[in-house]
Structures are given as structure tokens and as C-alpha cells.
């Protein structure tokens, strides 16, 4: 039995900066998970991932990460790994948490 599709965002690391980026609805890139496009359709998600992977001058290691719709309708992580990726390390106030 095929597993039901759960919502995703397209994410990667930026080629030059190395930091975490997400794909927006317009096909651009954002540093903020909340501004990413939440993909609820599997075929859509696969297509968006292909687009991301083709942008080799911007992205490294693009993949689909699980996400859910938060109270304000914007994407939120479902797994702690993605929580760390959108925040930064817990031992120093470095990374995204310091840039917001």
C-alpha cells in the first residue's frame, strides 16, 4: 500500500553561503521556512524538487522536507532536524536565529 503523501517544502543549502534555503511559491529562494511554499500535492512536489535540483548555481543537496501548516497557515517543521536547520545550533546563538 502506498503511503499517503504528507506536505513538504523544497529545501537545500546555498552553494556559496552553505546556509539553509527554501523554495518559495514564485520559485525563488528564501532563508525563512515561514516564507517557503508548502506543497500538498505529490506530483507538484516532485516537479518543484526537479526545478530546484537543476539550479546548480544556487543549490546543493536539494530535497523534500516534511512540514506542516502552522496556526498562521505558514509551513512549520515536523521533525527536530528541520527545527535545527531553520534555527541554528543550540550551543551558540549563531546561524539563522541570529540573523532574523
Amino acid at each position: 500500500m502506498a503511503r499517503a503523501f504528507t506536505p513538504k517544502v523544497v529545501t537545500a543549502n546555498h552553494l556559496l553561503e552553505g546556509d539553509v534555503i527554501y523554495m518559495t511559491a514564485s520559485g525563488d529562494w528564501t532563508r525563512e521556512l515561514r516564507d517557503a511554499e508548502l506543497l500538498t500535492d505529490e506530483a507538484d512536489a516532485d516537479l518543484r524538487l526537479l526545478e530546484a535540483q537543476q539550479q546548480t548555481a544556487v543549490t546543493v543537496g536539494a530535497y523534500l522536507a516534511d512540514a506542516k501548516s502552522g496556526p498562521d497557515g505558514r509551513p512549520e517543521p515536523t521533525h527536530f532536524r528541520e527545527e535545527f536547520r531553520r534555527t541554528g545550533p543550540s550551543n551558540y546563538f549563531h546561524g539563522k536565529q541570529a540573523e532574523a
Binding site: 543549502n13 552553494l15 556559496l16 553561503e17 552553505g18 546556509d19 539553509v20 546548480t56 548555481a57 546543493v60 543537496g61 515536523t78 521533525h79 527536530f80 532536524r81 535545527f84 536547520r85 541554528g88 545550533p89 543550540s90 550551543n91 551558540y92 549563531h94 546561524g95 539563522k96
Partner: protein, 556 residues
Amino acid sequence: MYQYNDFDSAFLAERNRQFRAQVGRRIDGSLTEDEFRPLRLMNGLYLQLHAYMLRVAIPYGTLSSAQMDKLALLAEKWDKGYGHFTTRQNIQYNWPKLNDVPDMLDALAEVNLHAIQTSGNTIRNVTADHFAGASADEVADPRPVAELIRQWSTDHPEFQALPRKFKIAVSGARDNDRAVIMAHDIGLYIVENDAGEVGYQLVVGGGLGRTPMIGKVLKDFIRQDDLLAYLEATVSVWNLLGRRDNKYKARIKITVHEHGIEEIRRRVEDRFALIRPTFGGFDVALLKEIEAFFANPEFTSAPVDAYTAAYDADPLFRSWADANLSAHKNDDYAIVTISLKKHGETPGDASAAQMRAMAELARQYGHDELRISHEQNVILPHVHKSHLPAIYAALKEQDLHTANIGLISDIIACPGMDYCALATARSIPVAQQIATRFDELKLEHDIGHLQIKISGCINACGHHHVGHIGILGLDRAGVENYQITLGGDATNTAAIGQRVGPGFAYDEIVPAIERTVRGYLDLREDENETFIETFNRVGLAPFKAYIYPEAQANAA
């Protein structure tokens, strides 16, 4: 210390030039990531969770003051002001930008440092006892032979595409192993035979990771002039025999396990017989040349009254001296271990200011030498005792005076989920909380020698298998979960820790460790019996009763 000759410098400059061009081609699109990845890995450049990570080798853990200053400069100029010293005697920078890496490598080359073969399926940075050349218990300084192995293995054409990574460590102190020899692909002990000749005992097939194994003796005594040929034969046999179908079975520990040590020995001997004649003695000549670079500094002889006076007068200095000094082969000298494990801080991290301060201490008082230990601390190997009070005062200014070497807060922890893309759980905050907790309890010195080692996934970069208490962070159905092992041993009496039972959630792991340690305090015969001695005497079962009190209550 070893000084690069023209060949070494030209080689490194050429490698850096090539890598700069490769980075350029990746950025302008002529290289894909698939093409670029192996190239950047060969030069120590990883992509981690939040950023790139550059891993710089500190060969056999030895640094000069100028080199340490340069590491500080990199931290300041191209990173966020700090670096992370690792269990493999490397330093890792967590925040470099791709464009800056070629400049970082050029800066390192100015002081003979590099990142070559700090990753990829090659022979990695050769590690050594961090007390090399200073401790009283060694047969010989392991660093010359480590340098010889570095020169032999760097860009060795036969060994650039091995089945998997390959790690070699060397110790000159057979009975006091401080270099985790038994957990390396090849471990070498420098030994003396009955005739009083110096040679090497070769241990093969140790390793941690998913399938932890203790190394087995491949050959008891290898003559100095046979060593490189024997190493080459061993790696060569594995290169052909090692499994390339499954990366989890590719390390030499699995090859030894699957074929048996006898069969490996037979093949190595055959290969050795074949290639030995091609080693016409240049290696012995080279070793002699290298040895000259590692001659002892001129030890000064002066009164040590300043030390004894401070020791008697100042209880804080005394406590630091008791925990952080080790015996030097010269009675007027001491080996100083500087703790990078201040309670609540990240194990192994040092700020640029701290690195500079340590470099300055080495320059002023330490014959210009520093060491990095696999335990993620910094060592001043040759310090005249009269300078110890001044050193302590200087360390205090930089918050580097924590008196905890070998104690429960001297924890090894890998980067874990805070940085590492492969992690299944965090390890740094667990280390921070354990250290903070036992500092609050003021039990640390009463507990005595106890090594806790923490890894954030099964790869075991934090050596958890060989911790007296090992902690392994896993992902159980989307939440962090921590497994405890007890009874691991990283020394020449190496042992893999035994799992105690079900794991603990993130907020339960520190209390579980506290119960484990309280159990030890109850179980020990007296305060002279260390944790590992108690464990070896009573075994796992009595500890379980402390770690899982509910289970015990239910069974009652």
C-alpha cells in the same frame, strides 16, 4: 618540530592552486556538485547542517605557537571567532563560505598546515599520543614515525580510492595508551624486543562506528626498516580484499572479521615479501632525517620553589595542579593539560583569543610547542615547574583554568545534531548539562577518574563505545533518544561498552547518568576504586538497578 622542505611547500602550494581553480569552476558552473563533492572532500571541506565545515589536520596533534596563532586568525577572519578541536586531532571551522576556503587554505600553508586527506576514502590524518616526547613512560617519541607515515600516505597513488577511510594512530607507550590505538584501522605501538631493538607492534582492524571492534595484533615486532613496506602491504591487501559493495562492510575491521586474522596475516606476509625489496632503505634514511626535527628542547635546570610555594599556599592552584598536570620525563618539568571543558561550555571549542593566549604561553614558557589531544584538550608538553603559577594565572584570565582533566566533566562529545548533517540527535547540550549538573553537586573530585563519551549517531565520532560511560544519541520515531553503555575502555586494555537497556529521552538522560554515578559511589569498595574498576568487578547488573529503579520496584 618538522619543517617543510621545498618539495613539501611546493606540493602544498600546487594542491591549493588546484583547489582554488576547482572552486572557481564549481561556482561558474563548469563542475556539477557530483563532480565537485569528491574534490572538496579531499581538501577537508564538508557541507553540514547550517554551513560548510572545513576540517584542518593537526598532524600527530603537534602545533607550534605560530600555527596556533594562524588557527586563531582563521577563526576570526573567516569564521565566527572560534574553532572546534576534534577527537582525531583536527580543528573544524563551522561557518566558512565557499569563496573564502581557498584563502583559508593559503593562510594555513604559510605555517605548514593543510586539510589534505582529512576526509574521503584515503589514509587520514595520522594521530599520536599527545604526551609524545614528554612522558616518562614511552619507548620512543611516536611523532617521527607518524610524520614518515604522513609523507608516505599523502597522495600515495595506490591509496587515493580505498574501499573506505583509513585511520592510523601511533603510541610510544605500550602500557599506557593515550591514543586509542586499539580502535584504529591500524594502530602502532613502538616497542622494544628482547635484544633491546626498537620496532613496532602492529594492531589491525579496530574501529568504532556501526560495528565496533577492538584491534587484533597482526605482527608483534616489525623492524624499523620493514615498517613502511609492512604498512603498505597491509593497506594493499585490504585495498583489494575490502568490500566495495557495501560501505558499511568496507572498513578493514570487517575484512579482518570476515577473513580471519590468520588469512589476513598470510596475505600481508606474501605481499610484504613481494614489495619489501622495492624499499631500498630510503625510508630509514628519511626517518633519521625526520627524527632530528623532534629532538627534545634544551631543558633548563632551575629551582622549582615557586611551584611548591604556590602549591602549598593556594588551594585552587593545588586543585588545578592535581587534576591537570602529568609527570614529565624530566623531574623539574610538568606536562600541562589545558581544559577546553569548562562546565557548561562546548567540549573542544576554543575562541580566537583563547588560542592566542595558549600560543603565547607556549612561546613564553613551553618551548614553543602545543598539542591537541583526542580528548579535545590542549597540552603544553614541556613546562618548567617554576612557571606553573604564572601559567595558571594567565589561563585564569582566559577562563581556561578548569581543573577537571580525567574527571566526569572532561567529556568527549561530537558535534551532533547542532552541526552535523548525519546526526540523529544532539550531543553537545547533553555534555553541557552533565558537566553543569555535577559541578552543582560538587561531587566531581570525589567521583574521580571517569570518562564520558557522547556521539550524536551510530558513526561514533564521539568514541561512545570506549567511554567508561558511553552515550549514543538516536532518533526514535522523530524524538531524540539516548542509549547508555557502561564499561568501555579506550586504553591498551580496550573494551567495548555494554548496553544497559532501553534508551532515555532528552530530558531524562542527565538524571539517568546521575543515577549511574550515584550507583557507582554506592558500589565502590572505597574512594580509591575508580568507576571502571568497580564496573569490572561487579558487572552490569548492579548498575541496572540504579539506572532503572522502576523496573526493579516492579520486579520486587
